[in-house]
């Protein structure tokens, strides 16, 4: 059974595709490691845009290398590309349709007061607590403030 399977596998999956030498994969791995170090070192420059590019730009490059060379999507049938692309596209659709409501805290005729409070309180507390342990309080404190703020406001009127 196993043999019959493997034959089918060779015919269809990798018929035209020869077995790569070991060094091919090691080279890819080496490139991935280099990219990885750049992505770790990038933020140390301290410029935000550089961080974003080195972090996410390189993540995309690394991902595409893994997909291409390790998962062998490059020699896979077209249809697989299509349905993976569709899944991914739906996630972008989801993000861009939901972001106007959830990412923004203000829009036409509405304001997300609770989230705005959380942002303000969090930023204020975050500046005061640089320390490792202090960060915890920095995290807890705004939660309470934000929770009480709108209720408090409601009671006031």
């Amino acid at each position: 059974m196993a043999d019959a399977h493997h034959a089918a596998h060779d015919d269809h999956g990798h018929g035209e595709h020869h077995v790569h030498p070991q060094s091919h994969y090691v080279k890819v791995w080496g490139a991935l490691m280099v990219l990885f170090f750049i992505s770790v070192l990038g933020p140390m420059i301290g410029i935000k845009i550089v961080t974003l590019i080195t972090a996410f730009g390189i993540a995309i490059v690394k991902a595409s290398m893994v997909v291409k060379y390790f998962m062998h999507l490059d020699v896979e049938k077209r249809i697989v590309h299509y349905f993976l692309a569709i899944s991914l596209a739906f996630m972008f659709l989801f993000f861009f349709a939901v972001a106007p409501d959830v990412m923004n805290h203000e829009g036409r005729n509405w304001k997300n007061v609770a989230a705005q409070h959380a942002v303000e309180a969090g930023l204020a507390a975050g500046d005061g607590h640089g320390g490792h342990g202090g960060g915890h309080e920095g995290g807890e404190a705004p939660a309470h403030e934000a929770g009480e703020a709108p209720a408090h406001e409601g009671g006031e009127h």
């Binding site: 106007p100 409501d101 959830v102 509405w110 705004p142 934000a146």
Partner: protein, 571 residues
């Protein structure tokens, strides 16, 4: 049934070197796709009884507020909410999904594409077992202290996220767990369906030779897979909110309850089409067989199905027009929502056009298929009121919405199922159902259903909102006229439920006592009818698997003596 199975049972088995399976192997832990399909169907039927009983209980409360409902007792507000919530979730997740997709998908896909089984029989069995587990978890959620979850099937936080608000801390977590398990079951099952249909078609069967049912179930499975992910993620997040005290949807910590609505409806709307498409597939098979006609525009119907499926991913926020999303977004979603009427109207037109020039025989399956088209048309056109944002401001969350989606879901989940069950019954059990009882059941269902939901259109238009257990607190909508309409709806529901016993009797009586069915009682073309009734394990003789020569709908071809032409007949 069992004798017939044993007689035919020889073909398939020797090839696999199998011993005769024991009762346990055959019926409780089967690997055979047909038995897994029947397990799904019977489980779905049991769940439908629960769903129907819930509907009966809360409809009685609405028609006769405060009475002790026979068989249930007095319906308290907590119980009312739990009944409404669980009626919705049971009927969609535990009846429509398992019966339409899992039961018929399992039974039909391998038979229709000329394969001996699903590609992964063990995954198939696992899928059913996970599903059964989800049923059990759901059942437990009804009886835990505090009662079943009552936050509506949409389960919007903060009500669902916090036991202090919902007062059913256990019930809501169990309900959510059951839903997540159910999704896992259908993800496993769906991958199996798609892979089977893509890879295991009989030699010679090209894309245009695949029966519409297989296409529809596959498109539905793909849509389910592509849409359910965010909700699985959301269910984990909501479960953490309930049990660990995280704040994913907690406004007090700056997060946003609206996010859940998006996660839910991103799945929830495609889900409607996930259950719709298989039902339209069954209807396509049945109207062609009983009108002895080729499907009018096979390719166009396929494109409309794909178009509907794709477009349904772009319309979800019409459930949220007045739910606090940015009003500017509503305009985009109005456009996409109204445009979805283009492919789905085309599909219905093509089905009706298929009847043109036919030789229509009104047997029970055909009656159900025609009933589907008629009822679904009403459901479809009333949806336009809700998709048009300007009109939805008024109709949102009224009984108009309830009537609308029952006019779509009832044809899908019940009429579609009855059509398929009566049509494929001879293949499933090797016996014929009783035609007279079938007709009595048909008319006893199709007439009351209109008398349930047409009154609800009116009460909704008059301003009665959903999920309210007693209208006494709302003077404008507790008028005697509206109450009369509610009583009409409830009485019709009771009549409808009574007529279902005819079906249950016919189903189980025919299973053992019905006349023996020939292999192809309806003279149909598709491959499942070329196998014996019921098909043995392996479906077709392993040394003589079917080869396909033509499309599935070659009826009444000029120049042929027979008015049908099976797909696997060389000439």
């Amino acid at each position: 049934m069992s004798e017939a199975h044993q007689i035919d049972g020889h073909h398939g088995h020797d090839a696999h070197g199998h011993h005769e399976p024991t009762f346990l192997e055959k019926y409780i832990f089967p690997l055979d796709h047909k038995y897994i399909g029947m397990q799904y169907m019977l489980t779905g039927m049991v769940m439908a009884l629960f769903g129907g009983f819930f509907a009966y209980s809360f409809r009685m409360q609405l028609a006769f507020p405060g009475i002790s409902v026979p068989g249930f007792g007095i319906v308290s507000p907590t119980e009312y909410n739990a009944l409404v919530t669980n009626h919705g979730s049971v009927m969609i997740f535990w009846v429509a999904m398992p019966v339409l997709i899992a039961a018929f998908g399992n039974f039909l896909i391998p038979l229709m594409i000329g394969a001996d089984d699903m590609v992964f029989p063990k995954l198939n069995r696992l899928s059913y077992q996970v599903f059964l587990l989800s049923c059990i978890v759901l059942g437990i959620s009804w009886i835990v202290p505090g009662g079943g979850f009552g936050g509506a099937w949409t389960s919007y936080p903060p009500l669902s996220a916090n036991g202090d608000y919902s007062m059913t801390p256990l019930g809501s977590s169990l309900w959510l767990t059951a839903v997540a398990l159910e999704f896992a079951a259908f993800l496993i099952g769906g991958i199996n369906f798609i892979t089977t249909a893509m890879n295991s078609r009989a030699p010679g069967m090209k894309a245009k030779d695949v029966p519409m049912t297989v296409w529809m179930i596959c498109i539905a499975s793909i849509m389910f897979m592509a849409s359910v992910g965010p909700l699985i993620a959301g269910a984990i997040m909501l479960l953490f909110d309930q049990q660990l005290g995280t704040g994913f949807f907690d406004w007090k910590r700056g997060s946003d309850p609206v996010l859940w609505q998006h996660l839910f409806w991103f799945f929830g709307h495609p889900e409607v089409y996930v259950v719709l498409l298989p039902a339209t597939g069954f209807v396509a098979e049945i109207i062609t067989v009983f009108a002895r006609k080729k499907l009018f525009g096979y390719q166009t119907i396929l494109y409309t199905a794909i178009g509907t499926g794709a477009l349904s991913f772009f319309v979800w926020a019409h459930h949220q027009f007045v739910a606090g999303i940015d009003p500017r977004m509503a305009n985009i979603f109005t456009i996409t929502t109204v445009l979805i009427s283009i492919p789905i109207a085309e599909m219905m037109f093509l089905y009706i056009a298929t009847l043109y020039g036919g030789s229509i025989r009104f047997q029970t399956p055909m009656l159900w298929a025609l009933g589907f088209i008629f009822e679904f048309l009403i459901g479809g056109v009333t949806g336009i009121f809700l998709g048009a944002s300007g009109a939805d401001i008024y109709f949102h969350d009224t009984y108009f919405v309830v009537a609308h989606f029952h006019y779509t879901f009832f044809p899908i989940a019940f009429i579609g199922t009855f059509a398929a069950a009566t049509y494929w019954f001879p293949k499933m059990f090797g016996r014929m159902m009783n035609e007279t009882l079938g007709r009595i059941h048909f008319w006893g269902t199709i007439i009351p259903v209109n008398f349930i939901f047409i009154p609800l259109f009116i009460t909704g238009a008059a301003g009665q909102h959903r999920r309210i257990y007693n209208y006494n607190h709302f003077p404008d909508v507790s008028t005697p006229d509206l109450q009369t309409l509610n009583i009409v709806a409830t009485v019709s529901l009771v009549i409808l439920l009574c007529f279902q016993t005819v079906f249950l009797f016919n189903f189980f009586w025919s299973m053992w006592r019905g006349p023996k069915a020939p292999a192809n009682p309806w003279k149909a073309n598709t491959l499942e009818w070329q196998a014996p009734s019921p098909p043995p394990h392996g479906n077709f003789p392993p040394d003589n698997m079917p080869v396909v020569y033509r499309g599935p709908y070659e009826y009444s071809v000029p120049g042929r003596e027979d008015d049908y032409w099976p797909q696997n007949q060389p000439n």
